[in-house]
Symmetry: C2
Subunit: 447 residues, 2 copies
């Protein structure tokens, strides 16, 4: 829905008059999915705070927004969409331009479902506002939740670990590989150590065999493939998402290897048919490879591109670097975790000769109370010395430094450029050579 919202803004920004119908399956629109863990933790007071634009605001802008309405079929020849609303009334809508902004759906393993296909009570994903409401109910004091198991060690898994600790729930995190597995192993290890220091029972390389329920059908334990039985009054499903592309797949629109739409840089899938957001795959700026990277940042940019283009513009989505950031802050542990560009594994997979180095330094001058450790991992091309990637794990102020590297990669700069550039210094904010520069300089010295 971020993509749809951005598309509207893009079209409006060009002053384009559209008869615009928006179909939204749930009862909510234009909300921050990334904020849901912080709503459940109590950082955010109410669901309404997560909503960027309300139903009424959309209506006031002239958008015919239809909540609780699910598109069930598309006919590209007749230019129609069939939709069913929550009273089971079917409608057929004609279109000149069609935008798929259907997002992604949480992956639900078979073991999480009852025989009828419903989610087992107490087992739930964290994807949309309805999920958030379910979690607030699951964690309400009268439920007396003492133990929870998180299945999945990606961003949502780590964020929910923070959330559950802050809700005073004993938490086990299971992940089939390592936690935040897209980090270099040495940095993933640091995140693992932080989670454990805060009291998370982290179990890497662990598969779920199934869940056990009590006489009311409610989850009471998770069983691992090695036979461990972990008590669980609640289970967080955080094993990833898949692009929601059934509608387009049914009419033969091309899909990528992860099942996402493959629009061109203008967002176009076919004449008068567009896609934006988590239902799409996108192009990596360094390798040119297509990947599934469902993030709000891309969704917003893609949505704006599509909105611009429907309104007669010629915008293009410029691709992704794989930039991301999260944190784990609980019980005296403060970890900021970010990355951009290629990891060593990704560089190797792309056939690029690279060198890499891990550097330890400080977020501020060592003598300042603001100084926290920061570990910076840099990857650069051996042939052209170009910065290819950076990953950061560190304390306060560490994470957003990744943007400096993202800008440098975006500009095609070398590690020498990054080491030489004029970054801002003052003792509470940085070392004289900023941590990202120390890392770049040390790698440059070895290239």
């Amino acid at each position: 829905m971020s993509a749809a919202h951005a598309a509207l803004r893009g079209a409006h920004a060009r002053g384009h008059a559209l008869d615009l119908v928006v179909l939204e399956r749930t009862g909510h629109t234009s909300y921050s999915a990334c904020g849901i863990p912080y709503w459940i933790s109590g950082d955010v007071a109410a669901a309404d705070d997560l909503v960027a634009r309300t139903y009424q605001q959309h209506r006031d802008l002239g958008v015919d927004l239809r909540l609780g309405t699910r598109a069930t079929a598309v006919d590209l020849d007749r230019r129609t969409v069939t939709a069913i609303d929550d009273t089971e009334t079917s409608t057929m809508l004609e279109f000149d331009e069609l935008v798929f902004a259907t997002g992604a759906a949480p992956i639900v393993p078979d073991w999480a479902r009852t025989d009828t296909g419903a989610l087992i009570s107490g087992v739930h994903p964290v994807k949309n506002l309805d999920d958030g409401a379910v979690w607030l109910d699951l964690l309400a004091p009268h439920r007396n939740v003492r133990d929870a198991v998180i299945v999945g060690g990606g961003y949502i898994g780590v964020e929910m670990a923070e959330t559950l600790l802050r809700r005073d729930v004993r938490t086990t995190l299971l992940t089939h590989g390592t936690v935040l597995g897209n980090l270099e192993p040495v940095l993933s290890d640091r995140v693992a150590a932080g989670l454990r220091a805060a009291g998370i029972d982290l179990r890497s390389h662990t598969e779920v065999a199934g869940v056990q329920v009590d006489s009311t059908g409610r989850v009471r334990a998770v069983t691992t493939a090695t036979g461990d039985e972990l008590p669980a009054d609640a289970v967080v499903l955080a094993v990833g998402v898949r692009p929601a592309t059934e509608l387009g797949a049914a009419v033969g629109l091309p899909l990528g290897s992860d099942g996402g739409y493959l629009p061109d840089p203008t967002g176009r899938l076919a004449p008068g048919v567009w896609a934006a957001g988590d239902c799409c795959e996108c192009r990596h700026r360094i390798t040119g490879a297509v990947l599934f990277a469902p993030l709000g940042t891309h969704a917003n940019k893609q949505g704006r591109v599509v909105g611009d283009n429907i309104a007669g513009g010629r915008a293009e989505f410029a691709g992704v670097l794989g930039s991301s950031i999260t944190r784990f802050v609980a019980d005296g542990v403060h970890l900021e975790i970010s990355r951009t560009g290629l990891s060593t594994a990704e560089a190797a997979a792309a056939g690029i000769d690279y060198a890499d180095l891990l550097t330890e330094s400080d977020t501020a001058s060592g003598y300042m109370p603001e100084a926290d450790p920061i570990a910076v991992q840099v990857v650069a091309g051996t042939a052209d010395r170009r910065l290819l990637g950076m990953q950061i794990v560190g304390g306060r102020g560490a994470g957003k430094r990744i943007d400096t590297a993202a800008a440098a990669i975006w500009g095609g700069l070398t590690v020498d450029d990054l080491a030489a550039m004029d970054l801002a210094y003052s003792p509470p904010f940085a070392t004289v050579w900023d941590a990202v520069q120390i890392a770049a300089r040390r790698l440059a010295d070895r290239l």
Copy 2:
């Protein structure tokens, strides 16, 4: 001394064996001058914490470091330096290579001196460790300092305002123009409002006529040009610094319009004669103009370049963008202040057609407790859409975002590039479009 320290490191990094004599006028070496306000405030426990490399560490590295020793004359033909130590013993040293790393000296107005030329008691700059010790003594409890006047509204002035508030001293700040006058007026106004909100009596456009002393010769008030008499048990001299280039000037080495040395990009002033750090002027990367920008970041980079080159390397200093950052944090006010590249005034002075825009947004998603206001001022070239400069004034996490702009400017990127690039997002750290991107995008839409 940062420059000298970096030169040593540079030479050592190349494994170059040098008979190295370092003459240092004061009793201290390789300390962080930028940390002194935080030492005086109590954030830093001891002067030793500010020292990056001690006398003994230098000696252990084989450096013949001579503290309390002042170079008094240079003879470029005979390749000699004359020096006097603190026992008034004169020595003559021969050299093959000579490095000026003489730094900058605080400007001391005539009204700050007694008839004999000494500083009036209680009136003091904040430049080196000896100054820091003087300030710790001036602010010791038995001195009973209640009122202080800071003369100068640059970085040191603002940092000392924070320091004095944290030491519970009633503080007036006088500046001949506006506070942080290298900021756009609208942003300078915000800093002024923050200072006042924290209790600083800020008086802009105010000149000092003189100081009044008590019967012991100690300062008791500052008189302004308009006749106001401001009580002052202590007066901070923060009216800037000038490059310390007397030695080179006496032998005809070329100086810039601000009196600083003008080395070439390799740091060379003349055959076998080099300069690095605050005694130099340097080249602005955008305009090509030479300017005096005495900052530790440049000094360290220049020192390393000179060290590399003396050891047979071919390094070059790549120029400056005018990046800087400071903060004012006291009494519930938290302001982070940073800039890079050209201000509107600097772009105009350089004859560049520019457009600029101020954008207000948040440091984190608006619904998060981490969200603080951030004002971002962007300047871009009208003809080529290149990002020319950015200034930021905002709350927690605002300041170091300037590095993203610095990297973009370093790479010659446009505001469109900055708006499109893949920066890291998560609700505690940023808005979906980062504040610097919102600013760039809005300006791009108007270009």
